[in-house]
Amino acid sequence: MPEANKDVLARRPALIEQLRRLVPDGVIADQDALAAYDCDALTAYRQKPLAVVLPRSAEEVSAVLAFCHREQVRVVPRGAGTSLSGGALPLADGILLGLSRMNRIREIDLENRCAVVEPGVTNLAITKAVEAQGFYYAPDPSSQVACSIGGNVAENSGGIHCLKYGLTTNNLLGVELALIGGERIRLGGKAMEAGGLDLMGLVTGSEGLVGVVTEVTVRLLPKPEIARASLAGFPTIEDAARCVALIIAAGLIPAAMEIMDRFAMDAVETYCAPGYPRDAAAMLIVELDGIAVDVASALGRIEQIARASGAVSFSTSNSEAERTRIWAGRKAAFAAAGRIAPDMLCMDGTIPRRELARVLGRIREMAKDYGLPVANVFHAGDGNLHPLIMFDVMKDGDLEKAEKFGADILALCVEVGGVLTGEHGVGIEKRDLMPLMFAPEDLAQQERIKCAFDPDALLNPGKVFPSLSACVEGGAMHVHKGRMPFANLPRL
């Protein structure tokens, strides 16, 4: 992380006092209380922030940012702190700007099929607010009970149903953003398109490096007439993966396609006994939604494809209760895996679907070489892998080994034409792997965008970009291609 600014650390008491004037009752400075904020869901990295600031309004966010800009204090935005890539990891010399108290649903406008909400509203709360009227908000990250919509925008969160309904970026209509200077800009609104450059598209997934989301307008979808899930067991995980590629190639776009390997199936069987096939090395869940006649005909074709791919079992839900049962084990998979090993790293590469079988085979070999077990539970439909590497942080060298294993998996994903992260974000976790995927000139171009929003590198520095950059005032800038040897220098 960037070296802490000693001057800022020395001014801590005065800065806290001034922040308290801007956000009365919303500043946490006590060391014990700060411990609750020292990490997000990537718990291997911890750092207490200078202070936590919890604004209640966009005006307060704006005032805090303008203040930090004037005082050259770094800012790390945080929604609910569920990032799996360390996106909300604090800085010793920076404030942690928590948006959790801005949690009101401002407006539900079903005529225009949208909801206007504050950034701290949880993902699931939006659906809960409109489901009685037959609507829902489509992106459904597994942390949806807890994760905030502002964090979803910052990370461009995905979920199980992105295959058909897209990521956060495909389900937004408008964003209000506070810039580091305190200016607030509105990007989009209730119309389908915003006009001008698509700044909302650029801001979505920018991981807190360009501004702080203060309001979000999301698109609502009508609840499908029916959703049904099928469960197929396969003799090998490669067979399951091939089945997924064949379903896509057949022109079918299911709402979700999820694979679990034997290891993960055993873990959930112990955890919640969902009754998954006992004789299979891997299983595939395929969910279809839409109107009944379409769903039935697609499921018929999928059963044929699954059987032809070697499925040893195939069953389809005939009621909502059966569908829920099929999903129960899948949804508990991460918690169940967490019971098996003291620590776990969840990787997130995406690969072309036809490479699934090969890459899964290679991961199994690597697991043997590293001597660390891996469970595979993943969004097979869009090729988004989630290998769970099990390790014990108390064992000497285990964390380093697990991280190296993870990096090898991601390098493999890039090698076969894929990417480092499909939905968890780069954050701190994959920052140093960015050069695997992007050449220096690609990264330099992205860093110039960062400079256009935040020339002093005050917003979430140290995340996403591995190289050293400096923005020069006045628009023109020099991009130095500092690489890893300069690990202690400021990073964007």
Binding site: D109, N112, R113, G134, E155, C162, L163, G166, L179, I185, L187, A191, M192, E193, G195, G196, L197, D198, L199, M200, L202, T204, G205, P222, P224, E225, A245, A249, G251, L252, I253, I291, V293, D294, T350, P352, R353, R354, D382, G383, N384, L420, G422, E423, G425, K430, M437, F438, A439, E441, L443, Q445, Q446, I449, C451, A452, F453, G475, A476, M477
Partner: protein, 393 residues
């Protein structure tokens, strides 16, 4: 004026690098089909990308295609059709110049989005990666070749609808989609615009999975040919999918929400949607505006701006407003769209008008300042399509 027609990305980069060095501006185009779109600008040269042509990789089983920017749109669509696939955002050519072919690069750079925008998104949602030359002649890539990717900034979103003002795309990677048969349309006659748009919004909010929602009044019908004789207006809802599925959905929808509607599953329906996408009703309009507004605001927008001819697509979320000589001023149109929570773009007008009025909606000062800094981040010398969207940018 110098016209450069590079035959490789490296040549294109060299042309831009040289122009940047000399401070010479460049217009970026394929075959010039959209020359009339955006503000009218004068540049010292033209960077013509029409020779960067051809499909690089098409993987039907991955639903992904990578093509050079100058590849004709028709060529891309024909290759996809062979594998029973399509571009889901229904890229119309939007061509104003007789004989000028639309290219895939220009289509995406103009942010084209068809009637399916409501359900399946626009160009921005289907471009997943690209290579480009920035304003210094530097080549860079962004995005990837997989559908789910959050590695780094989402530059494909910024590329779509950037009108060549940030960089010149050389290669594009797009999502493909299974192609469907000819659509089935549900047609209601003679609703007024308030009733028609209300029905369309109900359709969008229903579970019947329609993919098109448009309202076509008499003047626009006249320009579509001798269609629906006697009808004052048509309110049309489109269904796509297998024949069995379309029939079931159209029937279900009609029973629930529009008992008097008639169903058309023939050529008429297919032609109607295609001609609306190609803006056939506006072929002769002197001034054409494109408004994107919250769908429920459509009737009010029409009341305020009283066009000579219009079509409401996207259940009212997209309004095409055509005028002859008696057109409202650009300021009036922008103000009305803004007040209703949307924005307007002057889509077609004479050179003089496109030079002197706001073609794109004005933005607040902070957003404009940011737009300017982003322009500098890609094109510090300001030589790529300068002024095409906003004066001085």
């Amino acid at each position: 004026m110098d016209v450069f027609t590079p035959t490789s990305e490296a040549e294109a980069a060299a042309v831009v690098a040289e122009a940047a060095e000399a401070g010479r501006s460049l217009a970026i185009e394929g075959h010039g089909s959209k020359r009339g779109l955006g503000r009218s600008i004068e540049t010292s040269g033209v960077l013509k990308l029409s020779a960067l042509r051809g499909i690089i990789v098409y993987e039907p089983d991955e639903l992904v295609i990578t093509v050079r920017a100058g590849t004709p749109l028709q060529e891309v669509e024909a290759a996809l059709a062979e594998k029973n696939q399509c571009l889901a955002f229904e890229p119309a050519s939007w061509s104003f110049e007789a004989g000028a072919e639309a290219t895939i690069g220009g289509t995406v750079a103009a942010g084209v989005a068809g009637s399916r925008r409501v359900v399946l998104g626009g160009a921005r949602d289907h471009l997943i990666g690209f290579r480009a030359v920035n304003g210094e002649g530097g080549v860079f890539k962004a995005g990837g070749r997989v559908v789910k990717n959050v590695t780094g900034y989402d530059l494909p979103k910024l590329a779509a609808a950037s009108f060549g003002t940030l960089f010149a795309m050389t290669e594009l990677t797009l999502r493909c989609y299974p192609r469907t048969e000819a659509p089935t349309s549900l047609v209601m006659h003679d609703l007024n615009v308030t009733q028609g748009c209300a029905l369309l919004r109900k359709a969008v909010g229903s579970a019947w999975e329609a993919t098109g929602f448009c309202y076509v009044p008499r003047p626009a019908l006249d320009r579509l040919g001798a269609e629906a004789e006697g009808a004052q207006s048509l309110t049309v809802i489109r269904f796509e999918g297998s024949a069995e599925s379309m029939a079931a959905r159209a029937k279900g929808f009609a029973q629930a929400l529009a008992p008097e509607a008639s169903v058309d599953a023939g050529d008429w329906s297919q032609r109607l949607w295609s001609e609306i996408g190609q803006l056939k009703p506006f072929r002769d309009a002197q001034n054409l505006w494109r408004l994107s507004v919250p769908p429920a605001a459509a009737p009010r927008a029409l009341q305020l701006l009283h066009p000579e001819c219009f079509v409401a697509d996207w259940a009212g979320g997209l309004l095409w407003l055509a005028y002859g000589a008696a057109a409202p001023s650009a300021v009036e149109v922008h103000a009305a769209a803004f007040d209703l929570g949307g924005h307007a773009m002057l889509f077609r007008a004479g050179d003089e008008m496109r030079r002197s009025v706001l073609v794109f909606a004005p933005r607040d000062e902070a957003t404009m300042a940011l737009t300017r800094r982003l322009k500098q981040a890609f094109d510090p010398a300001g030589i790529l399509n300068p002024g095409r969207m906003y004066a001085g940018i």
